[in-house]
Symmetry: none
Subunit: 216 residues, 4 copies
DNA sequence: AATGAATGAGCATTCATTCAT
DNA sequence: CATGAATGAATGCTCATTCAT
């Protein structure tokens, strides 16, 4: 698990070369923030868990909030953003013949990411309401990128008569919340229930497909 | 707004007779917890906002956490729980001829509640991950009551052949996350977007109905 | 035990007529002060133990320190003072033929008093260093009354050639600390050791008598 | 006086190397605890007197009680314990030909120690009744070490027929309380009276020697 | 007389941050 | 670069005391 987390860190933060101490600080901070919340985690606790001196944290991150941002911003910038965009680009380029296949791939992809980055995602969700900077980034990302892109695709399918006549934004909302609802139930609400992931993925896809079908 | 909040408080906490000071403390705490989070709100701040001495808070609520619980537990116990159950009882007693009508009434009802209790619901969602007591109550409520009841209804409809063959639990998840996803988008994510509530409600219902339809 | 304590209270405080609430407050305060110390006992704790409202304490005793004084001053005034004086008066009036008999009676008398008033005596000893008012009273009592009287008696015996030639004050100190040392060991230091009181009293008397004897 | 106290501190706490701030904190704490009692001394007061920030106290002593223990435990462990034992070892090894000489040396030694450590001894005596940990240590030290050693010596003298036939424990009690009674009168009760220490020491020794003599 | 809600100063303790080494 | 002692403002909480009922 430690090795796995380290890889996660390397993956999330690779661009800036991290020293070993910095990695340890980030891992410790992610673990503590995720377990007890940002406001209830003390920097001294992080220092102890990371095995560094208290002052060392502040050499790398000017304030505690900077440390939080160093954790959460990359997730927003790299994970929620481009990953999604890459996927969609594949769809837009007809790499998936059917919507089902796109949904399946997307869900699977999201699932993998969420499983690995769960602690960071938890921190992000917790702190978005209280950090205006995060909030704005998030809204932008969701509103402009995610909804925008999805809406675009949807309008395509609607013109081909394959899905229901409904404002693309509403369709986007329905699809996204269905997918997110699944992932949220799966990993946040009931992570310990016995899930048959393949089956539930199919059911979710089926539900969405029917839900968007022209009915009758 | 103040008057409105006071009514909210009265409604949530009516059984125990609240003194004026207690009401003021609760209102101030709800406002602050909702805006800045439980851990980042100081009791002195609440006292100042409520216009009482700091000691007064601790006369009524032995600890800061007790104050939090006094706010969140009733919401769980009274609002999420029985309200839902009452609605479902109506369905079970055939008060709604069609699933659509039931969904419509439920969504509308939830919408009203959420609109009024938004700050408290926000606090609840924020603190569930960090307060084991809340977490357990919530899981119980959702898992045993909400999912249980909904599953029961679903099985009824499935026997009548009106909805798709799929484990009731999965159906329940899909329906509930669709409804919650709507309300979450509407009130938490984009409360300031221009929403046509009646229309979106219908679209959500339509989506769910088709999604659960036997397809073709 | 409760009844016994009530009698103690009545005995200590009889002159001012105490209401039932006052008695309860005093008993509760003595118990708490004795167990946890004056400074570490809160008035609310006393109120709860006494079964009265917090305000009631302050109706009878203007401040917490007044309550302490109401407990400790009578002990000094009535118990340490006059009792001793009465005993000594008996000696001075030749009611005891031999010093031994006087010592024996005095020790026995002190022993009874100490057993009953132990909690109050403990409080007194604890607070004397910190309450100048008490300290002065105590020094006066010990220095002027106790030492004074004893010195007077001692000088008598010295003139009769029955005890050693030594300043009366020094003799008084030796006698008093011997007696007090016994009682202190018996009731404060090792109250739970198995003591044969009669025997130890005799030994103490014998030690003092020899110690004051003309040697040889 | 400041220099003297610093030496005291160095003597009491030498093994662990104390920083300058730690010394200042200890000196300030000893002064305040001794004057006003542990419970009535606030940490902010100690900080101010020591000329350090309040947080500094808690960096070195996790709680206020830890600070108390850091002051009192070494006194029990180092001063009351080994010093006494060393003295007795000298007696046991026949370094003193006569009991008188032993008593004289012991009293003198105790007197020096007490004079220097008076504030700390005061704190110790004050807090023993309320700190179970201290109480146990003290009882152990007195009961098992002091009384045990003294009893052993006494039995030796009794076998040589030099002192009275009486259970060694009782003899020990009489001797110890006589010595302690002198020191207590001298330094705690009437420190400001004019004492001729040499003379009073001799009188106390004489009293004990006669008291334990075979009478006649 | 008795109550107990209300007060606000005070307390022990924590914490993010700084800085000399 | 890294350390960790030092800081002092802030925090949750307690307490003796007051006062309207």
């Amino acid at each position: 698990m430690f090795e796995q987390e380290e890889m996660l860190i390397q993956q999330l933060f690779d661009e800036e070369k991290l020293t070993e101490k910095q990695s340890k600080i980030l891992i410790a901070a992610i673990e503590s923030f995720s377990e007890k919340g940002y406001a209830s985690t003390s920097t001294s606790e992080i220092a102890k868990k990371a095995g560094v001196a208290e002052g060392t944290i502040f050499r790398h991150y000017k304030t505690k909030k900077d440390l939080l941002m160093a954790i959460v911003v990359p997730i927003m910038a790299k994970v929620v953003g481009p990953y999604i965009i890459n996927d969609f680009d594949k769809v837009l380029n007809q790499q998936y013949d059917r919507v089902e296949d796109f949904l399946r791939a997307t869900i699977e992809n999201r699932r993998e990411v969420l499983k690995k980055l769960l602690p960071v995602v938890k921190i992000m969700l917790q702190e978005i309401p209280f950090q205006p900077e995060l909030r704005e980034q998030f809204i932008d990302l969701i509103a402009k990128n995610l909804f925008g892109r999805v809406s675009h695709i949807i309008e395509g399918y609607q013109q081909k008569g394959q899905i229901i006549e409904m404002p693309a934004l509403s369709v986007a909302r329905l699809v996204i919340t269905s997918v997110m609802g699944y992932l949220f139930s799966r990993y946040i609400l009931f992570p310990e229930a016995p899930w048959d992931d393949e089956l539930e993925t199919e059911r979710t896809i089926q539900f969405i497909m029917h839900g968007l079908g022209k009915g009758e």
